[in-house]
């Protein structure tokens, strides 16, 4: 390639010095505009997206009975035996009851109350063969028929722990089976079919979701929203 005659460097600089005279006012104009000019269109503000604190409760789904168990029946707060010592129960009791009508058995084949409740001492649960246990030891009852789940629960995989992750630091509150499952109908609705909390509305939650051509996908696309607002803004200025 032909290099040509090398040109004197002064010439090139002279050119730039010349252009500086034109540029200086532009500088000042631009600077003034940036300092005093209108605020640039900021990105849109979404609505307050906090969800109500009640939806974020860390309380268990159920409150369980203590020892001795006390229930509210007809406005009275009683232990089971305060009533049950007064009468003899039938041999095998299924669901046709004059009392405790709210109980619906939906626990597989377990329809007989005495599979779990002790027929003699109603303040106790039964583990079979005349062995009873307190209501607070409900895990031993469930362990009779769900041993592998109870093993999982013991090692921490099934169920939930609240509070502290180590007993050295504070109370490790390991929820027992009946704090999540109703023993009479263990498939608790609060854990299966529930309404999800709102989807993200953010500008960028990592990668964009795959094509969302439904109404929500579009409504919740904030960049699109920003463009729309910006164009409306300009239109109103044009008028």
């Amino acid at each position: 390639m032909n290099q040509g005659t090398p040109q004197p460097r002064v010439d090139r600089f002279r050119g730039h010095r010349f252009s500086a005279y034109f540029v200086a006012p532009v500088f000042f104009a631009l600077a003034a505009w940036f300092w005093f000019g209108p605020e640039l269109e900021t990105l849109p503000e979404a609505n307050d997206t906090s969800v109500h604190a009640s939806l974020l409760s860390t309380e268990p789904h159920r409150t369980i009975l203590g020892d001795p168990p006390r229930v509210h029946v007809n406005g009275f707060d009683r232990t089971c035996m305060e009533c049950h010592r007064l009468f003899q129960s039938e041999e095998a009791k299924t669901q046709k009851l004059l009392q405790h009508e709210h109980i619906r058995m939906e626990h597989g084949p377990n329809v007989d109350c005495y599979i779990c409740h002790d027929a003699e001492d109603r303040d106790q649960l039964t583990l079979g063969n005349g062995v009873t246990t307190k209501f607070t030891d409900v895990v031993s009852l469930c362990a009779r028929c769900h041993p592998s789940i109870v093993d999982d629960w013991k090692l921490g995989s099934h169920g939930r722990t609240n509070g502290y992750w180590s007993a050295d630091r504070g109370e490790v509150r390991k929820l027992v089976c009946t704090e999540c499952h109703d023993p009479h109908a263990p498939r608790t609705p609060a854990m299966s079919k529930i309404e999800p909390l709102p989807a993200p509305n953010g500008w960028r939650q990592g990668n964009p979701a795959p094509d969302h051509h439904d109404s929500h996908g579009h409504k919740r696309d904030p960049l699109r929203e920003a463009l729309r607002r910006a164009s409306e803004h300009h239109e109103s200025h044009d008028k």
Partner: protein
């Protein structure tokens, strides 16, 4: 190029070079003025001159750190009208945190997402969320096919399963490596933290993270005053400012004091497990020993401290 054409361009300025010079200079000036503009806002926002001049978290003396905490607490109080309990919480000795998530239980209810937002003072508008719950077709684990914007009357959907993703606190974190100013680093308990006052907002870390776990404050974060969580620490949930990165930090202001993370405590199905990996009796350690855990994108070599697993008797369907 021939000598002829060169000859034509001389002497003086051609239109091209004039415009090039002018544009360059004007652009440069414009850039400088905009860059300086935040200085004007020092009084009105969480940016303060002291904050700007403050040293890196790891280089601050205890006195400087106290001063920084006092300054931040004051700024928070001024803006949100709540006196925060702002402190600096250090890692515990002999503790390395790990997280496990049971995918056969998760129902995709997003309670963890919103509990995290509430706990960690994330911007409500624009919305920032650390946890993304991916809804994925059954039979494959392909993050790229996951959809976090699903919207259904009820969950779970029978044809999908749900996988929450948040920062994996990698032992080999790509985000830390790419940070040009060391504003993000791995602490002794494995938590990857960010000094929000040191971050320059270049977003390299966001691009480097294979799990899309980092979030950028594109705009001034907005949090209603009544929603502020005053339980705050320097490296975790104190309010952030526009232009910085943030992400999950395993709720370090809670977990370093022995408490469980907010996302775990709220989980209605108990899918989330957390604890000390160095303690063989902890829930996570036992799960790691007895379950077939896996990590996401193992092939990229990030060594996450966040594990997923399915129950052995999981048949891929929920009644």
């Amino acid at each position: 190029m021939s000598a002829d054409t060169q000859q034509q361009q001389k002497p003086g300025v051609s239109r091209r070079s004039f415009f090039r010079g002018a544009l360059g200079a004007a652009g440069g000036m414009a850039a400088v003025t905009t860059a300086l503009k935040p200085l004007l806002e020092f009084d009105t926002s969480e940016y303060t001159l002291e904050g700007f001049l403050q040293r890196h978290y790891k280089e601050m003396t205890p006195e400087e750190l106290d001063a920084a905490l006092a300054r931040i607490a004051e700024a928070v109080e001024k803006r949100y009208e709540v006196r925060p309990e702002l402190r600096d919480v250090k890692p515990m000795d002999g503790v390395e945190f790990g997280y496990a998530l049971n995918l056969s239980r998760c129902i995709g209810c997003r309670k963890c997402v919103h509990a995290c937002v509430a706990e960690n003072n994330q911007s409500r508008s624009p919305e920032i969320q650390y946890i993304r719950v991916l809804e994925m077709p059954r039979g494959s684990i392909d993050m790229e096919k996951g959809d976090h914007a699903y919207d259904r009357p009820t969950v779970p959907d029978a044809d999908h399963f749900y996988m929450p993703v948040q920062c994996h606190q990698c032992a080999n974190p790509p985000c830390v490596k790419v940070c040009p100013v060391e504003a993000t680093w791995s602490e002794d308990d494995g938590i990857v933290v960010i000094d929000y006052d040191w971050c320059i907002g270049c977003r390299y870390c966001e691009a480097a993270c294979p799990y899309w776990a980092r979030r950028f404050n594109f705009a001034e974060p907005q949090i209603p005053k009544e929603d502020i969580n005053p339980d705050m620490s320097y490296l975790s949930n104190r309010p952030r400012q526009k232009g910085v990165m943030e992400k999950c930090h395993f709720c370090l202001h809670r977990t370093r004091e022995g408490k469980l993370p907010a996302c775990l405590e709220v989980c209605p199905v108990g899918a989330r497990k957390f604890g000390n990996l160095l303690d063989p009796k902890s829930e996570v350690s036992q799960i790691l020993r007895t379950k077939h855990v896996f990590v996401l994108k193992e092939e990229v070599g990030t060594l996450p401290r966040f594990f997923y697993y399915f129950d052995d008797d999981y048949h891929g369907e929920r009644k």
